[in-house]
């Protein structure tokens, strides 16, 4: 009798090993139509239905924020950045806290980047956007200067008490491309707080939360090499590991056009009013998606010494790839990078 019980107990103890063994599984979904890009959500949940619930909340939040931060369209019944731009030099516009939050972050970004990231550069960026779309010539210097004269962060008036934003000078307009997607990802990630482990790839900016529970210690994020190899194959130039951080990249290959055999990309240096020319690519890593987004642009524009100081001040890690092909990185980046020391011989 004891023996039978013993065998029964032993079998019962062992059976779960052969069972499905999966409490949570990994799911993925993607959607477009927001922030001019595709968003992929990958996460671990108890079921597809469970995962879809979170993914839907994330999608809804992104859609809502896309409308609020849109500078090209207005939407009935809401005041968004298009509305704010339309009222430049006319009157303050009442907006929801998310818009206030975005612009406050943008203003902080201007301050700590020494002006490298400036959301009031709307008129300059619009000019480049138009010439890039037309594709045959560069915007003339005097047109760029005129457009630049309409920028000025001091004329961005945020009244938190009243919940209004006012562009004090006529002709001013905001372009939040350097910060909106990251800030939106930060807010959207909060919608899925019930999922302990997931990532959001918002058009190339990757935000990771928690750790993958299936044995991998951390998420692995590849950094795409902008150049294809001689066979036309895409590969990563680096892989970084980490959890609870966002990897944001800026590069000279994302949007560009060619004039006279030279390429002109979309990240404009507010000082020269021309595309920044120091680096081909920068990857910025930070726990906050909004900051990672701002920093990837700031570090792409600033010279390396100022960039290293800024990264340290913000608690960010970063990789710079110069137009000379040379890699530079913060010390902490080297700790999470698979390729850095191999590429550079511990540079």
């Amino acid at each position: 009798m004891m023996k039978k019980i013993f065998i029964l107990l032993l079998t019962a103890a062992l059976l779960p090993l052969g069972g499905c063994g999966a409490g949570v599984q990994r799911y993925s979904t993607e959607f477009g139509g927001v922030f001019d890009t595709n968003i992929v959500v990958t996460g671990y949940a108890d079921s597809r239905d469970d995962f879809n619930r979170y993914a839907d909340m994330i999608q809804n939040r992104f859609t809502e924020l896309h409308r609020l931060f849109d500078i090209y369209h207005d939407y009935e019944g809401i005041n968004n950045l298009y509305t704010v731009n339309q009222h430049a030099g006319i009157a303050p516009v009442a907006v929801v806290p998310e818009v206030i939050g975005l612009l406050k972050l943008a203003r902080e970004g201007y301050e700590f980047s020494g002006g490298a990231v400036d959301v009031t550069m709307g008129p300059v960026l619009l000019l480049w956007h138009e010439y890039r779309a037309e594709g045959t010539s560069l915007p003339p210097a005097d047109a760029l200067q005129d457009a630049a004269s309409m920028s000025g962060i001091d004329n961005l008036i945020i009244d938190e008490e009243k919940g209004t934003v006012f562009l004090a000078k006529a002709g001013m307009s905001l372009d939040v491309g350097a910060v909106a997607k990251g800030y939106a990802a930060a807010l959207a990630a909060k919608e899925a707080a019930g999922m302990t482990s997931f990532l959001i790839n918002a058009g190339g900016s990757v935000t990771t939360v928690g750790k993958p529970p299936d044995g991998a210690e951390t998420w692995r994020v590849g950094i795409q090499d902008p150049k294809l190899d001689e066979n036309g194959t895409q590969y990563y130039l680096d892989v970084v590991t980490g959890s609870g951080m966002t990897v944001s990249c800026s590069g000279n290959y994302q949007r560009y056009y060619a004039v006279g055999g030279k390429q002109y990309h979309h990240i404009i240096d507010p000082v020269t009013l021309m595309p920044a020319e120091r680096f081909t690519q920068v990857a910025a890593l930070h726990p906050d998606p909004g900051l990672a987004d701002i920093l990837s642009t700031a570090l792409f524009i600033l010279p390396i010494d100022e960039g290293l100081a800024l990264a340290e001040k913000c608690g960010a890690e970063a990789l710079w790839i110069g137009t000379d092909g040379i890699w530079r990185a913060t010390e902490g980046y080297k700790d999470v990078s698979q390729m850095y020391n191999r590429e550079q011989g511990n540079g």
């Binding site: 004891m2 023996k3 013993f6 065998i7 032993l10 079998t11 062992l14 059976l15 090993l17 052969g18 069972g19 499905c20 063994g21 979904t29 993607e30 959607f31 477009g32 001019d36 890009t37 595709n38 992929v40 990958t42 990532l199 790839n201 190339g204 900016s205 990757v206 990771t208 993958p212 998420w219 692995r220 994020v221 590849g222 950094i223 795409q224 902008p226 294809l228 190899d229 066979n231 036309g232 194959t233 895409q234 590969y235 990563y236 892989v239 990897v247 944001s248 990249c249 590069g251 994302q254 990857a283």
Partner: protein
Amino acid sequence: MDKRALFYRRDVWLLTGFLLLTLLSFLLFRLSGQPANTAQIMLDGQIVRIVSLEKDGEFALEQNPHIRFSVRDGAIAFISSDCPDQLCVHSGYLSQPGQMAACLPRHVSLSVNGAGGVDAVAN
């Protein structure tokens, strides 16, 4: 048989049998999630085609024949599209799980499935 023994030889075989069965089902489960690489093509957020990367060839997307793909040496790429920017075509051949490319104006995306590789690619 010695009736006072806790285990008869027959019981040992029975137990061993159970243990082996357990081990086998465990292994089968672990191994079943590792197929050869495939890629998936999505249109408007829905998977419309799953492609094996084992066989070379070219094909057009049924829903939009202007968009064509090529599979070559275990990798897949957009090779033509009717979009203005051609960013999809410039994304090159993808071979690693986690790699993706997209034709945003046409709402088409391409990604490589499978374990290993990276969880996402930043660009």
